[in-house]
Amino acid sequence: MITIMRYALLRWRGQIIGWGLALAALSLVIAPLYEAVVQQRALIEGLLQSLPPEFMVLIGNLDRIFSPAGFLEVRYFSMLPLILGVFAVIIGSGLVASDEENGTLDLILAQPVCRVELFIGRWLAFSVALIGILFITWLGLVIAIRGAALDLDGLAVAYPFIGLFGLLSWFGGLALLLSLIVPSRRLAASLSGLVLVASYFVTTLAQLSADLSGLATVSPLTYYQGGGAIEGLNAGDFLGLLLMSIVFVMIGLWLFQRRDIRIAGEGGWRLPSLIQKTQTQ
């Protein structure tokens, strides 16, 4: 399992560093803006009062922007799920399916490696990759808040990243599970991405409409605290997301153990043949 993990991380090392540095750089760009926000508070508050509440919700509750934690929540942590969600669904959907689709899985599983070992090894590598990206991002943020006028404890700003890890695990787990159900990795990534965007809108719009509150309870983003975790992590929400990701992974493992490994380029489902049939009729 160590070899499986190690090689997966080696393969992703560029992405881990790239995503981490890009998000760290983003914090270095955003944090200094806080000073200007504080200086222009009266002007901004005047502008905010003229905006309809719906608009305020959609652009991220700007009325909270004047506290350091609120500023980071609105300008930084609210964006991270969508940005890093892309990484989670792309890597998650390809943990097994990309090697299967490009044909390299055949030779790996012809070695004395059991399917459980491969599957769990890849999942653990994915978790370590997430931790790596989040750690680099957190380091960048700590440097950024030290250089800016944001009076926040470095450890406290780590809490939103812990919550984010739970959320990204949820999406990675979903993408992995879907990759074992639908015929292609690309479709699994697209469907997971769709859930990510839908979840964002449902959770956001539920603040405006009570009709959506029921739907929001099944939206994973509802359980992501974002910058709010700076004032204290909700362990229940975090563990709930993590537990669901483990459920996805376990179902995926159960499916993976029972399925035939496809040869490179081989389609997996009946859908394409059904389409062909209807076209030839």
Partner: protein
Amino acid sequence: MNDSLAIQTQALTKSYGKVPALRGVDLEVKRGEVFGFLGPNGSGKTTTIRCLLDLIRPDGGTLRVLGRDPQRESVAVRAQIGYLPGELRLDEGFTVEAALRFFGRLRGNRVDWTYGRELADRLNLDLQLRIKNLSKGNKQKVGIVQALMPRPALLLLDEPTGGLDPLMQQQVLRAIREAQANGATVFFSSHMLSEVEEIADRVGIIRRGVVVEVADPQALIDRSLRRVRVRFKQPIDLSALTQLPGVTLIDRSDGASVLLNVAGDMDQLIKTLAAYPVIEMDTERPTLEEIFLTYYADDQAEAR
């Protein structure tokens, strides 16, 4: 199940949706032999090999590999197998050496690196090259080295010489013979009948998911028809020849030259010919390829 067998399958079936790939494969490969598995595309060769490795699960039948059930003891079985897939794909980001080290690590480093380097050298394979820069033939060489390097008890090779030039094909066949000499069983599929004829102790012919023949290559050739051309001093009465069991007259151009098909041994024909004034006699032995094609004559006719 027989422990003297490296591979044993009974009534093995496998379908992909409604398409049957294996329709009851019965196969016995003895330990220490080189077994050539012949068949055209889609006949079930690769499906059989992938069942043996537990990459796919058969719908029915039983199989044992080196005395074990590959589904229940997949890791233990695969620890003793070196596999070369027919459609070899390798991680393009690796160098050759890194790829071989990766496969070695998956085996807990139980590989013979000295032999691996020697093989790479014999195959003119540069270990420092990146996989993405290799030709198809050179990638095939990587596959061959990774399969042989652990010195496994069983080699499953799907089209091992595909994409290689004749010189390298000979090197691979030599390596297969060496593996056999060291006690390994070799089960390989091929389209290249000349190489099967050259190294296989026995061949199995699979047709539409069923093994239709298992024999040693020479016996297959001996058992098949021979074409005999005889030239006599003068035209003769051929009835004595055509009445012989297994002898058929194909052509009698001028009465002094005849072309015969002879099934089975030649003993009776030669004894009968001794009574006639024979100037010369030629015997054409069919190649394994010609014999092979007779098994697929129906398929080819249907395809036309």
